[in-house]
């Protein structure tokens, strides 16, 4: 991706619009060739309808009514000609609409795939800087805005053909008649463009105010209990009424723009037709044209009234499309990807060796640079359990996220079994390193898929026995057994709601089932009962033992001293620097800061326990199993 030219549009507005349209059509060449061809057929057939009506007038209606028997014989012939033209026109319309619709849907899908590819490629740091809501609306609202212009586009191109054919036909008949008829076209196009220019901002404003009215209503209803409790319904009504009145004014404005332009746009073809009748009669009096020619020209104006509006639709959609496209391009052009290397990470027995060499992490913060980690040297032997301890903001999460390469250090190196993580090929790290974060994300899928993160039948997907074993070690197997459907129970928005602790344990099972050689727990048991937490940590080492060979390397950020005490080594981190490294007991003895921290942690743990007991005594259910 790094070698691709930027997608962001540059140059004048016209140039950017043209590029936008061209790129869109080029991405679906077959559909757009068909759509434009069908639209051209429609344009030509529309002119043919008016020509056929004119011809029928001259060759059949006028002479037949006047009593010409030859013309009377041609009545059925005229009917057939008109029917054939009608069929051609309908086919043109059908083809134009169908292929234009297909193309429109295909371009939308194209943008959406591009955006999500990029969402999946960009690193976590980029995601933290871009709120999820914004990214989602990128895939819906921005894509809709960027593609709105492609719906009427083939129509408008067909209308160009229609105008050219009409002009040629009329000029061949009579210059004066052609001038009278065709003057309407530029006038109608101009009126439509002016209309869209006025309409677009008015409609946008109304749309925005609709959202604001909804915001006020939503907030006010959400605070309904407060409003009732303080008796402030009058105040809320006033607040809502003010915004509603703004919306009313905006809607009236939209209506007024339509009210003025609709009649103008309808008026133009009517006035054009009348001009054609006047000029046509004059030209007929000189013998230059027949009644049929006049009817043709007049009829043409009647049937062209709607199609010429297509230009207005295209031009009206363009500004919105440019804004939407620019937003999409900004995401697609983002260059924050963590490029993978090419080396494999041989799968040795037992845990991974982890080494951080003089690691520093800087992030931009409010115009300056904040240093999150600095000069960190840590060496973790395979199979060791390491606890990372430090006060809030010490850099614990930053440190452990480097191990799974969620981001790269600004300075220094992170080595897994001696290889720099930046040199490892894509997929190598996740296959051997599992990171469990404090916030657990549950996919809208079954329990099984949430643990395996694979589809049934995928190569290397763990079997059910492995899933149950992981659930057992994470102490969540009983919960799953109770769910209707067991492993097949749906989770997520539609499915069963798990408590915070249960979700965390599910995430641990998700990590364990992959048999990682390095397990990173970032405060991953914060919502789990301390007793259960100890059980899980205990089971982790015994599970590794069962597998034969050395235990998994575990690096965990923890707050409970009971958990910290289980670690072989404790890394004490403060202000982004390593203060001390060593076994818990040694640190307690020699590191004053660590002792204070340990006491504070103990106090906090005790306070939480007391609170749980307090609430339980007062009759509240304080168990973490409560939903």
């Amino acid at each position: 991706m790094s070698g691709d030219p930027a997608l962001t549009l540059t140059g004048s507005r016209l140039r950017r619009s043209a590029t936008l349209v061209w790129r869109g059509m080029r991405s679906e060449p077959r559909l757009y060739v068909l759509a434009v061809a069908a639209s051209a057929l429609f344009g030509a057939a529309t002119v043919a309808v008016s020509r056929a009506v004119g011809w029928a007038t001259d060759a059949v209606v006028v002479p037949a009514v006047a009593g010409d028997p030859a013309a009377q014989d041609r009545i059925w012939q005229a009917g057939l000609v008109l029917a054939a033209v009608a069929l051609t026109l309908a086919l043109g319309v059908a083809g134009r609409r169908i292929w234009a619709g297909y193309g429109f849907a295909a371009i939308q899908a194209h943008h959406r795939r591009g955006l999500t590819r990029q969402y999946l490629r960009l690193p976590v740091s980029w995601h933290r800087a871009h709120p999820a809501g914004r990214l989602l609306s990128g895939a819906s609202a921005d894509v809709e805005a960027a593609t709105g212009v492609f719906n009427p586009l083939p129509f408008a191109l067909g209308v160009v053909v229609m105008i050219v054919v009409a002009a040629a036909m009329l000029l061949a008949v009579d210059v004066w008649l052609a001038v009278a008829a065709l003057l309407v076209v530029p006038a109608a196009v101009a009126a439509n463009v002016v209309f869209q220019r006025h309409m677009a901002p008015a409609a946008t404003r109304a749309q925005q105010l609709r959202a604001e009215v909804a915001d006020v209503a939503h907030e006010s209803f959400e605070g309904a209990l407060l409003v009732k409790s303080l008796g402030t319904a009058d105040r809320e009504e006033r607040r809502f009424a003010e915004r509603t009145d703004e919306l009313r004014a905006a809607n009236v404005r939209v209506g007024t723009v339509r009210a003025v332009f609709d009649p103008v746009i309808e008026l133009l073809p009517s006035l054009g037709t009348l001009a054609v009748l006047g000029v046509g009669t004059w030209r007929a009096s000189t013998g230059a044209v027949d009644a049929g020619d006049v009817v043709t020209a007049a009829y043409l104006l009647t049937v062209m009234a709607v199609p010429v509006r297509a230009f207005g639709w295209v031009l009206g959609e363009l500004p919105r499309a440019l804004v939407g496209y620019d937003r999409i391009a900004a995401v697609l052009d983002a260059r924050a990807s963590l490029a993978p290397g090419e080396h494999a990470l041989p799968r040795g027995a037992g845990g991974l060796a982890v080494r951080l060499e003089d690691v520093g992490v800087d992030v931009p913060a409010a115009g300056a640079t904040a240093t999150l980690l600095d000069g960190v040297d840590v060496d973790v032997a395979p199979g060791t359990t390491v606890a990372v301890v430090g006060s809030t903001g010490a850099g614990k999460t930053t440190l452990v996220s480097l191990l799974a390469r969620l981001s790269d250090p600004s300075r220094g190196r992170v080595l897994l079994d001696g290889t720099d993580v930046r040199d490892l090929a894509a997929g190598e790290i996740p296959s051997q390193v599992a990171l469990v974060t404090q916030q657990t994300f549950v996919f809208e899928d079954t329990v099984r898929a949430n643990v395996t993160l694979a589809d049934p039948g995928d190569e290397g997907a763990p079997d059910d026995a492995a899933v149950w074993e992981a659930l057992r070690v994470a102490r969540v197997d009983d919960v799953v057994r109770e769910l209707p459907g067991g492993l097949d129970a749906p989770l997520g928005e539609r499915g069963a709601n798990l408590s915070g602790g249960q979700r965390q344990r599910l995430a641990i099972a998700r990590a364990l089932v992959r048999r990682p050689r390095l397990l990173v727990l970032d405060d991953a048991t914060s919502a789990v009962d301390p007793r259960v937490e100890s059980e899980i940590l205990g089971a982790l080492s015994s599970a590794a033992g069962d597998a034969g060979g050395q235990a998994t390397t575990v690096v965990m950020v923890a707050y409970r001293m009971s958990s910290v005490a289980l670690a072989d080594v404790v890394v004490h981190l403060e202000g982004g620097r390593v203060v001390d490294v060593g076994p818990h007991a040694e640190l307690l003895a020699r590191d004053d800061g660590y002792r204070d921290l340990a006491t504070a942690y103990e106090r906090e743990t005790a306070r939480r326990a007391r609170e749980l007991a307090d609430e339980a005594a007062a009759g509240e259910t304080a168990s973490e199993e409560a939903p």
């Binding site: 009514v65 009608a86 009424a241 007024t256 809208e444």
Partner: protein, 599 residues
């Protein structure tokens, strides 16, 4: 969640809905007759051109003495004038309709919004917030959008078809019948097809929803996706959802296009029919050549309306359905209403009495079985009991969020139902567990407690807020906020911590200055520093006021003047903490277990 107390839609028929809607928003029919008269003129303008064509051909080009240019010039000049006048009428009709319906709909919105607030918390609670919001937003928008894009079309198109038919009938009733015979079946077929089209669009909406769900996993689960290296699988899931969306969109487009182009086909085949039948009639002497040609122009006046009519009728149904949903809100009876002869309750120390109070939620079992209770003025009272014992119900009855099914709740000896709601809300304020904050600054949220709403005096408001902050010992906390009192709290106060939100709620209650404060104690854990601040602020807030606390912690009961123990809908014990702890009853057992667990 129990079933909603607010009907999903009013059960009125279409006409009754319109009648009732107009009753609530009478602005809509202001000057309707003049608007209609102008609309008839506007529609008449549409047949000027076909008439001009007919006269030009019969009296101009085919005139006995050869084409008569002067006569046609005069004729077209007059016609142009008529067309312009009709255009002006159209503009005036449009503006009049927009102004009046929008005024009426704004009124409808505000009334429905107010009605939602007037409903009891019980009725509000039976409906999801989002569903209530849509009653005053998207449901009304449906009506508004219908008026703007479909309603006027429907009016003008109907008149256009009527006027065109009238003119055609003047030329030839036989040919008029033929034209109608072609368009009526087309209309019926299109109407049926509309159902299929609607289902296709519903499928598109569903597919888009599922697709956004899949994309949100890639976005919200960004960390998990990377930590487990499952980008490829997530990508496949998204791609599948995107493709489903594309395919359903394409299918819907195929359907719509087929329906639309068959309409185009029929409309143009009618031209052939008119030429054949019209000329045959003309040969028989029933029609002039100009009249046959005029018919071809008049048929065009049918095409648009017939094709759009199905879509517009569909929108009309949506609009009526939207209207019904809004009306359903207004039809929901206000269950906790102010009595017609209500009296204001004078300020002063507040004492509350419950006399034989029974309460059951609608359709549910009784939760309070005859409660008698005296809550003395200016005392701190704590109510304790298990979840579901009925303690929260007592708080809701004392604040008159609900009325008892039997018995009385009295404030200073007067039944709450006899008091004006405004005076009651002034004297009795509930501070709920989760303090709700509006998306504004800390100051705006605290000042929300000021009643009546302060108008214009920013400095005065600031002074009152500062005073409250000082009185509650929160000055250092405010000073520590990034922008002090001007710090934005974010949506629902999410920029603040749970503890900080409680502090704002307490300051707000302080400015509300009630005589009786009903506190639903928060259960969510907050950090120790905030805990201390909250306790201190609550002390200042409750001092000198009657306080009723729904206690979730025994430590709160311990610090109260009087403890009320509720069990299974009955008040089982009332007394001081020491007294009850020694009495060997329910409270003593709760207390003993608490002591055992915290030691």
């Amino acid at each position: 969640m129990s079933t909603s107390r607010i009907a999903s839609a009013s059960e009125l028929g279409v006409l009754a809905t319109l009648r009732r809607g107009v009753q609530i928003s009478p602005q809509i029919v202001d000057g309707l007759w003049l608007t209609l008269a102008l609309a008839v003129l506007a529609a008449a303008g549409r047949v000027v051109v076909p008439v001009a064509v007919q006269r030009t051909i019969d009296d101009g080009i085919l005139a006995a003495g050869g084409p008569d240019a002067a006569r046609v010039a005069l004729l077209t000049g007059l016609a142009a004038g008529a067309v312009v006048v009709a255009g002006l009428c159209t503009a005036v009709v449009n503006v009049r309709l927009f102004r009046r319906t929008e005024a009426g709909l704004a009124e409808l919105r505000v009334q429905a919004f107010r009605h939602v607030h007037d409903l009891s918390t019980l009725a509000q609670g039976t409906e999801r917030r989002g569903a209530l919001v849509s009653r005053v937003t998207s449901d009304v928008d449906t009506i508004s959008l219908f008026v703007q894009w479909g309603g006027i079309q429907l009016l003008v198109s109907t008149l256009q078809v009527l006027v065109a038919t009238a003119l055609m009938a003047v030329y030839s009733w036989q040919l008029t019948l033929v034209v109608w015979a072609c368009f009526v079946p087309l209309f019926l077929v299109l109407r049926r097809a509309q159902g299929t089209v609607n289902r296709a669009y519903a499928a598109v909406r569903q597919a888009v929803g599922a697709m956004l769900g899949a994309i949100s996993e890639a976005v919200v689960g960004a960390e998990t996706v990377r930590a487990y290296g499952v980008a490829a699988r997530t990508g496949r899931r998204v791609d599948a959802a995107v493709e489903t969306t594309r395919a359903t969109q394409a299918r819907a487009q195929l359907l719509v296009s087929s329906v639309f182009s068959s309409g185009v086909l029929v409309a143009n085949l009618v031209l052939a029919v008119v030429v054949v039948v019209g000329t045959l009639l003309g040969v028989g002497g029933g029609l002039t050549a100009g009249q046959v040609v005029a018919f071809l122009f008049l048929v065009q006046l049918f095409t648009g309306p017939v094709q759009q009519a199905t879509e517009i009728l569909n929108e009309l149904q949506n609009a009526v359905a939207g209207w019904r949903r809004v009306l359903a809100v207004l039809e929901t009876p206000v269950d906790v209403a102010e009595a017609a002869d209500a009296v204001p309750s004078p300020r002063g120390p507040a004492a509350v009495t419950l006399r034989g109070v029974r309460f059951g939620y609608p359709g549910g079992p009784e939760v309070l079985h005859g409660v008698d209770l005296e809550l003395p003025a200016r005392r701190k009272v704590a109510v304790v009991g298990r979840t579901g014992s009925g303690k929260t119900t007592i708080a809701k009855l004392v604040t008159r969020l609900m009325d008892p099914t039997e018995g009385q709740v009295l404030l200073d000896g007067v039944d709450l139902r006899r008091l004006t709601l405004s005076s009651l809300r002034e004297r009795v304020v509930l501070v709920p567990q989760e303090g709700f904050l509006f998306d504004g600054t800390v100051e705006e949220n605290v000042a929300y407690g000021l009643r009546p709403e302060p108008t214009g005096d920013a400095a005065g408001t600031r002074a009152r807020v500062t005073e409250a902050v000082e009185a509650l010992g929160l000055s250092d906390w405010v000073a520590g906020l990034p922008q002090g009192l001007a710090t934005p709290v974010g949506q629902r106060g999410e920029a603040l911590s749970a503890g900080e939100r409680q502090l704002v709620a307490i300051a707000r209650a302080y400015l509300a200055a009630p005589d009786l404060l009903v506190l639903d104690e928060a259960t969510s854990a907050v950090d120790p520093a905030a805990e201390v601040r909250i306790a201190r602020a609550l002390d200042s807030l409750t001092s000198g006021r009657s306080t009723l606390t729904i206690a979730h912690r025994l430590s709160t009961a311990e610090a109260s003047d009087l403890v009320v123990v509720v069990d299974d809908g009955h008040v089982v014990e009332v007394g001081g903490h020491e007294e009850l702890a020694a009495a060997g009853g329910v409270y003593a057992r709760m207390h003993a277990s608490w002591v055992a667990q915290t030691r």
